[in-house]
């Protein structure tokens, strides 16, 4: 899973392979996570996050969320939300580019509660300054799912991050 550009390895954190299936509840639950070690990012860097749910079953819709925090649970800082528009939407993506305006207390993201699959697809969505993420410390990228019907099963095939160094 290591990318190469002209033979040069580039290996930002990512997960590998499908998770186990999650089913049986309609509450938000963690389906995947990865660690961003403290100090990996710096002020004015950009952090890309790319993930998706794979849903088996078409009884209800599903919501994917990105949360970031110092522990892996559904109480951590919400960063992004996307709800599939109908129950037959079984590949549910979420892609964001976060701007680290200040390492300890200012990360910009599109409105965290507004449903949107990709930040460049939603120019009507306002930006939000998240003040609770300190990138000097270890932070987890957490992917959660929430199904409207407990009969559906979801998997998370990947979380991919992209580090772009600022000036």
């Amino acid at each position: 899973m290591i990318s190469k550009v002209k033979g040069i390895e580039y290996n930002p954190p990512r997960t590998v392979g499908d998770t186990t299936g999650y089913t049986g509840v309609t509450t938000e639950r963690v389906v995947n996570s990865l660690l961003i070690p403290g100090g990996s990012l710096k002020q004015y860097d950009l952090l890309g996050i790319d993930s998706r749910l794979r849903k088996v079953g078409t009884v209800g819709t599903a919501t994917i969320r990105i949360r970031i925090g110092t522990a892996v649970n559904t109480s951590q800082q919400l960063v992004a939300t996307y709800t599939a528009t109908n129950s037959t939407g079984t590949l549910i993506p979420i892609m964001r580019r976060l701007s680290i305006n200040n390492l300890t207390n200012s990360t910009y993201a599109p409105s965290v509660t507004t449903s949107n699959a990709w930040d460049h697809a939603g120019p009507t969505i306002s930006w939000q300054n998240i003040t609770t993420i300190n990138w000097a410390n270890d932070q987890y990228i957490i992917i959660t799912s929430q199904c409207t019907n407990s009969a559906d099963t979801v998997y998370c095939p990947y979380i991919i991050t992209d580090f772009i160094q600022g000036s």
């Binding site: 950009l46 305006n101 160094q165 000036s167």
Partner: protein, 163 residues
């Protein structure tokens, strides 16, 4: 500004420093990213992407992407545009370009108004963009804003140039 892995340049970006606030009563440069000389070669495929935040809902803006040897609208090559409506709080431009040689790139027509060139960009045509000494000499990609009416302001959130 240059992303490195194992000491090698992989991608370049401007930064995620939230920029100054501009009224854009006339066409105003919001931010830029530098293309160093000899950084790319013929055949390179690049993505230029950026995002702004708009202060309120009173103004439409015309948002444009350019390339020039310096961040100067005069003599610049227009590469893209997006006409942001009053409700577009996060106007942005996302474009991909393919360099067919060191002076010529191909991409979405520069006057076709859309925020991104991914998906169902119906009716769009491909354009050829030519700039003297483009890859060898390098230069600057930059975005501008121009307010159509009202009192809203624009602020750049980030701009990046990626390979």
């Amino acid at each position: 500004m240059i992303r490195k892995a194992n000491g090698q340049n992989l991608r370049i970006t401007a930064n995620a420093q939230v920029g100054s606030t501009f009224a854009c009563a006339s066409e105003t440069i919001l931010g830029s990213v530098t293309l160093p000389p000899d950084f790319l070669s013929s055949g390179a495929i690049i993505t230029v992407r950026n995002s702004c935040t708009k202060s309120s809902t009173s103004s439409p803006f015309t948002y444009k992407l350019y390339f020039n040897t310096t961040a100067n609208i005069t003599g610049a090559l227009q590469l893209g545009t997006f006409s942001a409506g009053v409700g577009d709080f996060s106007p942005n431009i996302y474009r991909r370009f393919v360099f067919t040689n060191t002076t010529t790139a191909r991409g979405l027509a520069s006057t076709f108004s859309t925020s991104n060139d991914v998906g169902d960009v119906v009716g769009a045509t491909v354009a050829t963009f030519t700039f003297t000494n483009w890859l060898v000499g390098g230069g600057v990609f930059f975005v501008t804003g121009f307010r159509g009416s009202g009192t809203d302001t624009l602020q750049l959130i980030n701009i990046s140039l990626e390979v």
